[in-house]
């Protein structure tokens, strides 16, 4: 039985300034499960995430973490909640002036009274867990995109969070790295008792990871339920959303239309003083 809190959105409208991005959200991310917040680019997934994290107040409605209203938490309760929340941002959001070990150690140094050797032991453990145990003294600009994300994940996990939020963890990664990161998230989910919310538009990740799926679009919540329920849906928009991915997988490879050889004659007269023209065939033969 999981003790990780559920996250409930009651009639929540989110946006920036006076402009709503998504309205009237009534969603419950179940505690101790891996939920995925899915939708097309610009549909407001990251905006919803930032509001759940308390970075911005919602324009309307209530966000409940467990049974506590985020908007009515006392300062101490909010601080306590943040310290048990881990976030993996899109590009890791590691502090550029700190080494990897200092980045991961930062929450421990700020919020615990652990001695430095103990902090270093935890840091080493978390970095080993994500496969970066060898890169303790590197700075974020010395890491690849995938390594930065894994380092961000290590930092998010260093305080043993009850909730882990990941903002597009596989964006910008090649399919192999994406699959590795998905696998890593699954391992973390098994190792820590936590509620995980992953924002993504990667349908392959959704199908392989999600216990619970929320789909946003058209400024509202279009679907929430299990992956099996989603696959059975008859909603035309959702079918298009899901089938589009299937079409992409099964689609034949695009072929180039035939090119008229006359079109390949490149006029270099302006560059070469009018003496030469180069044919693609000539260059290829050389």
């Amino acid at each position: 039985m999981s003790t990780a809190p559920s996250i409930k959105l009651e009639n929540v409208t989110v946006g920036y300034g006076k402009t709503p991005v998504v309205s009237d959200l009534n969603i419950e991310f179940p505690g101790g499960k891996l939920s995925m917040l899915v939708g097309g680019s610009g549909c407001g997934k990251s905006t919803v995430l930032k509001h759940i994290l308390g970075l911005y107040p919602p324009m309307g409605g209530n966000i409940l973490i467990g049974d506590r209203d985020l908007g009515r938490m006392t300062g101490k309760q909010a601080r306590c909640m943040r310290q048990r929340t881990g976030v993996l941002f899109q590009d890791g959001a590691l502090l550029g002036s700190l080494t990897l070990k200092d980045n991961v150690a930062l929450p421990l140094r700020e919020h615990t009274r652990l001695k430095e050797p103990e902090i270093m032991r935890i840091v080493q453990d978390r970095l080993d867990m994500v496969g970066l145990g060898h890169a303790l003294d590197l700075f974020p600009n010395e890491l690849s995109g995938g390594m930065r994300k894994r380092a961000g994940l290590a930092r998010a996990l260093v305080m043993d969070p009850q909730m882990l939020f990941c903002d597009e963890p596989t964006s910008g990664l090649d399919p192999v790295l994406s699959a590795e990161l998905d696998q890593l998230l699954l391992e973390m989910m098994c190792r820590f008792d936590m509620t995980m919310v992953v924002v993504t538009h990667d349908l392959a990740s959704m199908r392989s990871l999600a216990d619970f799926v929320v789909i946003l679009g058209e400024r509202r919540c279009l679907f929430q339920g299990t992956i099996e329920e989603l696959e059975r849906t008859e909603d035309p928009y959702l079918r298009r959303f899901l089938d589009r991915a299937a079409e992409e997988r099964d689609a034949p490879r695009l072929t180039m239309p035939p090119i008229d050889p006359a079109m390949m004659k490149i006029d270099c007269s302006s560059v070469l003083g009018g003496k030469n023209t180069i044919r693609k065939d000539d260059r290829c033969s050389k």
Partner: protein, 267 residues
């Protein structure tokens, strides 16, 4: 209908500007109070403050020395020519000392530090904002104001007066170089006038100005970077560059305005 709308818009326009300006000044004041409150929040701040003093203070010494030297040399030359017309070149030391200590040293030091360190502060914090590093700090329950802004504020409070004193020193030497060594004024009279004409009030006023300028520069530069994501119409790197330009321009204007007000109040 169109006339009515236009009339309404004209009626509202100045108030909107006034409201926006009041809003910005209010936010800036709250930002200033918050950063000053957090300056000495715990011993953990000390290494960060030392790093910032090195960046803002130590790394600015050479540029301040150069500006101080040439400003002093120009003042020495101009005042010598002007005073010698009336046979009063003996007052060269008085002129150089008072103009430097009361006005030029605090103002020019602050403007130079705005260009060198203030712009860097804005860019650093702005980049951290657009790359979600500040959000990450908030989520980790690390107060970004305490972590990022307060050490810079503390470093400005330390660096601005020290660099102003250094500017004074070099500028007085620069005035001696042109006035005495190049143009032939009496060295003993020059230094005696420098010593005799400066009261403690002058030095205290100069230092007070430099502290106020330090607080203003740090507040404006950090504020512009911190809220770079709220800049309408400019997102991402363009927003950071816009914020940096704004920070430098606003800081320079505010330094000169504050200088006028402080001069009026102090002397």
């Amino acid at each position: 209908m169109a006339e009515k709308t236009r009339g309404k818009a004209l009626h509202l326009f100045p108030w909107r500007i006034f409201r926006d300006a009041a809003d910005e000044v209010g936010s800036l004041t709250l930002f200033l109070v918050d950063s000053l409150r957090l300056v000495f929040a715990g011993l953990g701040q000390f290494p960060k403050i030392v790093r910032q003093v090195y960046f803002i203070g130590v790394q600015s010494v050479s540029v301040i020395a150069l500006i101080g030297l040439f400003t002093g040399m120009v003042m020495g030359m101009q005042l010598y020519y002007a005073l010698s017309v009336f046979g009063a070149d003996g007052f060269l030391g008085t002129g150089v000392a008072l103009s430097m200590v009361r006005e030029l040293a605090p103002v020019l030091t602050a403007i130079m530090l705005t260009g060198r360190a203030g712009s860097a502060m804005t860019a650093e914090i702005g980049v951290m904002r657009i790359s979600e590093q500040i959000d990450a700090l908030s989520i980790m329950d690390v107060n970004p104001m305490r972590y990022l802004v307060a050490p810079k504020m503390a470093a400005c409070l330390v660096s601005f007066p020290i660099l102003t004193a250094f500017f004074n020193l070099i500028a007085l030497w620069g005035g001696w170089l042109t006035g005495v060594k190049l143009l032939g004024a009496n060295a003993g009279v020059y230094w005696s006038r420098v010593q005799g004409s400066l009261d403690w009030d002058d030095i205290e006023g100069g230092f007070l100005k430099s502290i106020v300028f330090g607080v203003l520069v740090c507040t404006i530069c950090c504020f512009e970077g911190y809220y770079t994501h709220q800049r309408s119409g400019h997102a991402g790197p363009e927003g950071v560059s816009q914020s940096t330009t704004n920070a430098v321009v606003k800081s320079c204007v505010v330094i000169l305005a504050a200088d006028y007000i402080l001069t009026s109040l102090l002397w």
